[in-house]
Amino acid sequence: MSHSRLAGHAGRPKSLFQAANYLSRSDAEALAKRVLSFSKAEEARVTISSGVRGNTRFAVNQISTSGDNFDTSVSIRSAFGKRSASSATNDLDDGALKAAVDMSERLARLSPENPEAMLELEPQQYVEARNWTDATASLQPAGRAAAVQLITEPSKRAGLSATGYLEANAGSFAVSNSKGLFAYNRQTSAGLTTTVRTPDGSGSGWAGVADNDVGRIDAAALGARAIEKARLSMNPVAIEPGRYTVVLEPTAVGNLVQLIAFAANARQADEGRSFFTKAGGGNKIGLKVIDERVTITSDPLDAEAFANTFTGEGLPANRTVWIENGVVKNLVYDRFWAQKQGKTPTPLSGTLKMSGATATTEEMIASTQRGILVTRFWYIRSVDPRTILYTGLTRDGTFLIENGKITRAVKNLRFNESPIFMLNNVESLGRPVRVSASEDGSPGFAIVVPPIKVRDFNFTSLSDAI
C-alpha cells in the first residue's frame, strides 16, 4: 500500500465550514496588538492558540464518531509589580477581549505579591519551527474515513474486530507582550492508533504512530501489524511473575523514558524531593545515572521530532541535552529558579529523543534465551517519586521468547519498575523511531526512541486482561 495514502486525499474540496481554520501570522499579530491596546497594567502578555482538531473514531470495524472543532483562545496575563493574574476567553469581540483584560487586571491587583514573580521577557530571536505540513492541514473527513477503511476492511476480512482513532490537527500559537516580544508558530500533528481483537476476546494486537505529517503515516501497514499481533496473541499462557529479560518495542520504551524528562525538574531536585536530589543536598548534574550508551535530548528542529521553538512565555526552546552518555547534563530550570541558581532557563519543549544503536528487534529476540517481548505499556502511574518508580501493565501483544524465538503469547504482566533502573540494565539498543507514547492516542509529545533489550525487568503480578 502506498506510503502516502493518507495524504492522497488532500486535494479534495475544503471543508464546507470555514476557509481559514487558524490565525495567520498577521492575523495573530493584529489580534495580539488589539488585546494589548486594552491593557492598563505595568506589564502584559497575550498568548493565542487557534486551529482545527479533526478526528475520526472507529470501533468494531466501523466509524463510531467523527468530528471537527474550530476554536481560538486568547489568554492575557497582567502584572502590577509582583502582583499578576491571567484570564482567558475564546470570544474575540472587542467587548469580550476588553472584559478579559479588565478581569486579569482586577484579579492581579487583588492578588497578594508573589516574591518569585519574573518580569516579562524582552524581544527574543527564534529559529523558524518546521512542524507544519500542508498534507496534514488539508486532510478532510472523507480522507480520514478512507484511511480508516484501510484498517477496518482487512480486519473484517480476517474475521477480527478493529477499533481505533485518527486525529489530525492544524493550528497556530502566538505569544506577544507589552515589551514588544512577538513569537508565532503554525503547527500540524497527527496520530493513528488501532487495536485489533479477536471476536471471542482471546487475542488483542496494537499498532500506532504519531507524526507532524500524515503523509508519513501508513494506515494499511499499521492495520496489518495490529492484525498480525492480534492473531499471534491468542490464548496466552500464564507465567510466573518475576525478573525477566525483556525486548521492549519502541512504543514501550517511549512509555517509560518520557517519565525521566517529566521528573527532571531542577527546583524539586534542589529542594530534596526528587530522584535527581543528590545525597546530602544539591542535585545530580554531573553524576552518571544510567548506561553510558544512552543520551537523552530535546531538539525542536530534529527532523524526526519537530516541535515549537518557543514556550508560552516567549522563551526560545533550543536543543537541550538532558543526559549525555549516562551523565546528567541539564535539568529543567524555569526562569525564576534559573535566575536564583545562576543558570540558563532550560524549558522542556514538546520533543524528546533517546539515542540508540544498530541492533534490530529480531537480533534482540535471537540473542535471548528466555525473555518477554513487550508491544506497549498501559495505565502507567507514579508509585514512588524518590526512584521514579512507576507501575503499569503490558498490553496488546506480550510474547514469550525461548531459545531465540517467539514461542507463544503470555498473559499480561504488571510491572513495578523505574526507567532509571531499566536504563542501567541495558543489553542492546536499536535505531530510534517516532512513536505514539501517549496513552490516549493523541499526538502528544514528539517522542523518538529505540527498541531496547533489558535484563531484570521487574514484573510483580499477572493479569487476566486481554
Binding site: 484570564s87 469580550a96 495505565y379
Partner: protein, 545 residues
C-alpha cells in the same frame, strides 16, 4: 481510567501544578455574581441572538441537510484557579470558553462539528458540516445507530446544589485561606513544602434536540487540592500527604466547611510521620479501607467495567474493554461480591460531581442498581446503547431507555457515555470506621487515595493510599509506609465481609476521569462506606535509587 499526565501536558501550568498535587486523577469573562440559569441572560453579551434561537437555527440546518436526528449544545465553560506554594501565590487564572457543538445522525451514522463563533451563519455552518461528516463516514459503517425513546422537555432548567457561587468570592479571600493553611502546615517539623490551590468549574449548558427538548442548566463544582511535603534533614527521604479534600458538586460553602486551616497541621504531621514510619512487610493482610480511599477503588474496579460501550468493545483502543462482558453472560448471574453489596448508578445525589438535571441527550437520568445483592444487574447507558440490552430489559419487564449517562466535557467535544456517580450503598448494620478496626485482628487501615493503576479489562489493579495504619488485636498500633495492594477484581470484591452503615457514608470524587479519543475528562463522585476485605496481597514499593 483517569488521566493525569495527558491533562497536565495540555493544560499548561495551572493544570500542571494541579496535576502534580493530585497524583490520582488521570481546563474565563466577567464574573457572574449570582447564579443565572437562564441561558439568554448568561450569554447575552456574546451572541447575536438568544441561545435558543441559535440552537433552533442549527437544528433546522441539520434537518434541511438531511439529518434524521440532531442535537445542539451551546455552552459557556468557566474555570477559576488560585494556586499557591508555601508563603506565596503562584498563579491566579480565570478561563472562559463559549461555543456551539452540533451532532447529526444521518442514515444511522454520526457526524459532529463545533464552532466558537455564535452567529446564525456559523452555527448553521457547523450543523451542515456535522451532516457532511456523517455522510463522509457512511462508507465505513456496518450497523445503523438507533436511539432509544426519550421524553421531550420543551422548556426546563436546572441549577446544581450550591449556595455560594465561587465567582462571587474575591480572590483575596481565597488566597488568604490557602496561605493560612500553608502556614499552619509549615509549623510542623520537617515539613518544608506545601502546595495548595482552589479550582472551580462553572458550566452553563444549553441543549436542544429535534425531539423537541430545550434545556438550560447551571453546574458548579469546587475543589481544594493540597499537598504537603516533609523532607528528612539528611535529604535521604521525602514523603507527601495529599488529596486531603475531595472535589464536590458544590459551591464555595463546601470549601469553607472543610476547615483546611484547622486541619492543615494534622495533615502536615501525617506527612512528617511517614518519614519515621515502618516499611510494610509484604504479605496477605485484612484491609480496612476508608471512604476517602475506597471511592477510587470503586471507580476503577466497578464503575469502569460496567460502562456498556467498553463492555462491547467500543473503547478498546484506549480506555479498554471489560471483564464484565459479554453482558448476556453476566447480567443476572455473575457474583461480583457478597449479598450485602449493592452498587448504584445515579446523577441525583446532592453534591455529586456527576449530578445533573438532564444529560447531553436530553434524558432525565434515573437511579439504577448496577450490582444488586452482589449480582450484576445493569450497565451505564446512553440512548444509542440502551437498545443493545433490549433482551435484558424485556426479560425483566423494564422499559428500554437510557440511564442518562451521555456527557461531553465542552461545547467543542462530542457527547458519549460517561460515568454517573457510582456508589457502594451502606449496609443494614449501624457500623462505623472504628467498629471495623475493632473487629480486625491483623490488618492495615488505609486512608486517602494515592497511586493507582488497573489493566484495560479491569481485572488486575494496584492501589497505594495516603496514610497506612497497622492494626493488631482490634487496635491501630502504628504507621506504615511503602504500602500498595494488588487485586484481581472479582476475588477482591468477594473477599468483602464487613461494611459500614448509613452514618459512615461519604463521597470521594475526581475532576479528571479520562475516556474517549480525543480524550475527554469527566467529573464524577463515588459514595461509599468503610469496608473490610480479607486476605489481600500487599507489596512494599520502596526501593533504593
Amino acid at each position: 481510567m483517569s488521566t493525569r499526565r495527558d491533562f497536565l501536558m495540555q493544560g499548561g501550568l495551572a493544570a500542571a501544578v494541579l496535576g502534580a498535587a493530585n497524583a490520582c486523577k488521570t481546563a474565563s469573562a466577567p464574573p457572574v455574581t449570582a447564579p443565572s440559569p437562564q441561558p439568554p441572560a448568561a450569554l447575552a453579551n456574546s451572541v447575536d441572538a438568544s441561545a435558543k434561537d441559535l440552537m433552533m437555527t442549527a437544528l433546522n440546518a441539520a434537518k434541511m441537510a438531511g439529518a434524521a436526528y440532531a442535537d445542539a449544545r451551546i455552552g459557556r465553560y468557566q474555570n477559576n484557579f488560585v494556586i499557591t506554594r508555601e508563603q506565596q501565590i503562584v498563579q491566579v487564572v480565570d478561563t472562559n470558553s463559549i461555543g456551539c457543538g452540533v451532532r447529526a445522525l444521518v442514515d444511522g451514522t454520526w457526524g459532529f462539528a463545533a464552532t466558537r463563533t455564535l452567529t446564525t451563519d456559523a452555527v448553521a455552518g457547523a450543523a451542515r458540516e456535522a451532516v457532511a461528516i456523517a455522510k463522509a463516514s457512511r462508507i465505513a459503517r456496518d450497523r445503523a445507530v438507533e436511539l432509544a425513546p426519550v421524553v421531550a422537555y420543551p422548556d426546563v432548567s436546572y441549577k446544581s446544589s450550591f449556595t455560594i457561587d465561587p465567582w462571587s468570592v474575591p480572590v483575596e479571600q481565597k488566597a488568604d485561606l490557602l496561605l493560612k493553611a500553608n502556614a499552619e502546615s509549615l509549623k510542623i517539623a520537617n515539613v518544608k513544602y506545601v502546595f495548595s490551590a482552589m479550582y472551580f468549574v462553572k458550566e452553563e449548558r444549553n441543549f436542544a434536540s429535534t425531539e423537541g427538548s430545550v434545556i438550560s442548566q447551571t453546574i458548579v463544582r469546587s475543589w481544594l487540592p493540597m499537598q504537603i511535603t516533609a523532607v528528612s534533614s539528611d535529604f535521604s527521604d521525602f514523603q507527601n500527604r495529599g488529596n486531603t479534600v475531595q472535589p464536590a458538586g458544590r459551591g464555595y460553602e463546601y470549601i469553607l466547611a472543610q476547615d483546611v486551616v484547622g486541619n492543615a497541621g494534622k495533615w502536615a504531621e501525617e506527612a512528617a510521620a511517614k518519614l519515621k514510619a515502618k516499611p510494610v512487610e509484604v504479605g496477605k493482610y485484612d484491609l480496612v479501607l476508608h471512604p476517602s480511599h475506597l471511592f477510587l477503588t470503586i471507580h476503577e474496579s466497578i464503575a469502569h467495567p460496567t460502562e456498556l460501550d467498553r463492555a462491547l468493545g467500543y473503547e478498546a483502543n484506549y480506555a479498554g474493554t471489560s471483564f464484565v462482558a459479554p453482558p448476556e453472560k453476566f447480567l443476572g448471574t455473575f457474583k461480583y461480591g457478597p449479598e450485602f453489596m449493592n452498587v448504584q448508578g445515579d446523577r441525583s445525589q446532592e453534591g455529586g460531581c456527576a449530578t445533573i438535571g438532564w444529560d447531553d441527550e436530553g434524558v432525565k437520568p434515573e437511579d439504577f442498581l448496577i450490582i444488586r445483592n452482589g449480582i450484576v444487574n445493569d450497565y451505564q447507558t446512553t440512548r444509542e446503547q440502551a437498545n443493545w440490552l433490549r433482551w435484558w430489559y424485556e426479560k425483566q419487564g423494564r422499559p428500554v431507555r437510557s440511564h442518562g449517562c451521555s456527557n461531553a466535557d465542552s461545547w467543542s467535544s462530542v457527547q458519549f457515555q460517561r460515568m454517573p456517580n457510582v456508589s457502594l450503598l451502606p449496609g443494614d448494620k449501624d457500623l462505623v470506621w472504628d467498629d471495623l478496626i475493632a473487629a480486625t485482628d491483623r490488618g492495615i487501615a488505609i486512608v486517602g487515595d494515592g497511586s493507582f493503576s488497573i489493566d484495560q479489562q479491569r481485572f488486575n489493579a494496584q492501589f497505594g493510599g495516603q496514610t497506612f495504619h497497622e492494626i493488631k488485636g482490634g487496635k491501630i498500633v502504628g504507621v506504615l509506609k511503602d504500602v500498595a495492594y494488588q487485586i484481581r477484581t472479582p476475588d477482591f470484591w468477594n473477599s468483602l465481609d464487613m461494611i459500614g452503615g448509613k452514618r459512615s457514608y461519604e463521597m470521594g470524587a475526581s475532576f479528571f476521569d479520562g475516556k474517549g479519543q480525543p480524550g475527554q475528562v469527566n467529573a464524577v463522585s463515588h459514595g461509599c462506606v468503610p469496608a473490610r476485605f480479607r486476605g489481600v496481597n500487599v507489596i512494599n514499593t520502596g526501593r533504593k535509587a
